[in-house]
Symmetry: C2
Subunit: 253 residues, 2 copies
């Protein structure tokens, strides 16, 4: 199993929220994988075949792209391993959350993180990244699109309201244990963490505690990720918990 995973100038810096969904889905299934760094302008034939976005998983003869399609592939191909969805209904309901993220979190998160990403991508990716993102934002320059962090945190906190409400009555979005819905919602928070940007407000205990649980899940695969040098706000959590094993590297943020 090979996972093509978006990387920065530092090839161990993996900051794509969608690739993190796939990493966690593979961990949930107990499937090992060889994660290969991929940059925006890489011309790898496998990744480019049919489309140009990661995550892409190569599972034997099959090449699967798109995080949702990969999750469905893993669930259908490995039905005897722990379920990502919990059956047909659970999968149908998870698809709602997948689309909710696209319409609610996706328009917001890149505006909070776009300058951090710009500072960390490989030099040869920088023009591509700026051009493609400015086109996506209707031709506005990235510096104008970026939302100040404090304002972004407030907006994100509101957008995450359904996640927070669910987590008031159960430990995971999947109920008694994590499901792919946890992976969907966590991927964005992990992107912030890897990039050294604290996305949650200090008083958001419910989401912070769940993030800690997600970081510990599956043997700590998310906690073990390389992260850029901490900003002063990154680990200001109430309980003083800091990543236990996060390897750090001087970042360009």
């Amino acid at each position: 199993m090979i996972l093509y995973d978006l990387a920065g100038a530092d090839e161990d810096l993996r900051f794509s929220p969608y690739c993190w969904r796939t990493r966690l889905a593979l961990a949930h299934k107990g499937l090992g994988c060889d994660t290969r760094p991929w940059r925006f302008t890489d011309e790898d034939d496998v990744v480019r075949s049919g489309q140009g976005l990661v995550p892409v998983v190569v599972d034997g003869d099959e090449v699967v792209h798109d995080s949702w399609r990969i999750a469905c592939h893993l669930e259908d191909r490995y039905p005897d391993r722990p379920s990502l969805f919990g059956g047909e209904r659970g999968r149908a309901h998870a698809l709602f959350v997948n689309h909710w993220y696209e319409h609610t979190i996706r328009p917001l998160l890149p505006r909070m993180l776009v300058l951090a990403v710009l500072g960390l991508v490989h030099e040869r990716d920088r023009d591509y990244f700026r051009d493609s993102r400015e086109r996506r934002f209707g031709g506005r320059v990235l510096e104008d699109v970026a939302i100040p962090l404090e304002e972004g945190r407030r907006m994100l906190g509101q957008a995450l309201a359904p996640v927070r409400e669910v987590l008031r009555s159960q430990a995971w979005l999947g109920g008694g244990g994590p499901s792919y819905v946890d992976h969907i919602a966590f991927g964005g928070l992990q992107q912030g963490r890897v990039l050294g940007v604290e996305l949650l407000t200090d008083d958001d205990a419910v989401l912070r505690d769940w993030r800690e649980r997600m970081l510990d899940a599956y043997g700590g695969v998310a906690r073990g990720a390389r992260v850029v040098a901490r900003s002063s706000t990154l680990h200001g959590s109430r309980d003083g918990n800091a990543p236990r094993s996060g390897r750090e590297t001087g970042g360009a943020v």
Copy 2:
């Protein structure tokens, strides 16, 4: 099984979106019920016990209130009947949709329908309804809170984006058949229909087609609801489908 169901001046006019969730959940389970009309200012001891909102279900010795708690009660007490959630994961994921509705649709729909409801509630409920709703809206008079229909349709259409996206790839929010997630999302559209207000834009084929399927589901329990006299916009659907069995009554809208 008794369901206390919000009613208008016409006691057959049942317009609460939350009561519709429960009606459909009962139909999904194949459970008959005696639906009793209840008005905002009714002092019924059963309904008032502990709280003052419908739906309330009396199932033998048990009195259960709150639409989500009722759905869970039905699922747990009648596990051999068709499942509302499809297991633990499906229930956990449905809870997300339940909270999504509260944070996304609930702040909007009452502003589209509040004047229609005001015109249809029992005369003795009118002062209570106005006072309680104006308090809910921070002391603003209802006429100022109400959103013009066209603007409301546009806003609701955007808010329902995740529902629409899911329904592009599957017939029901529950997948191959309706689940409680369908009931959650449909309840609001059924409220509009009962009140004679078309909530969807003319070109919203995906949501309109799904609404038709929901109206037909479970032997047409939702289609059989009494609705107020049609406004000119209520049934302007592309395909000219009109309710087949909707009993109509002169309404006050």
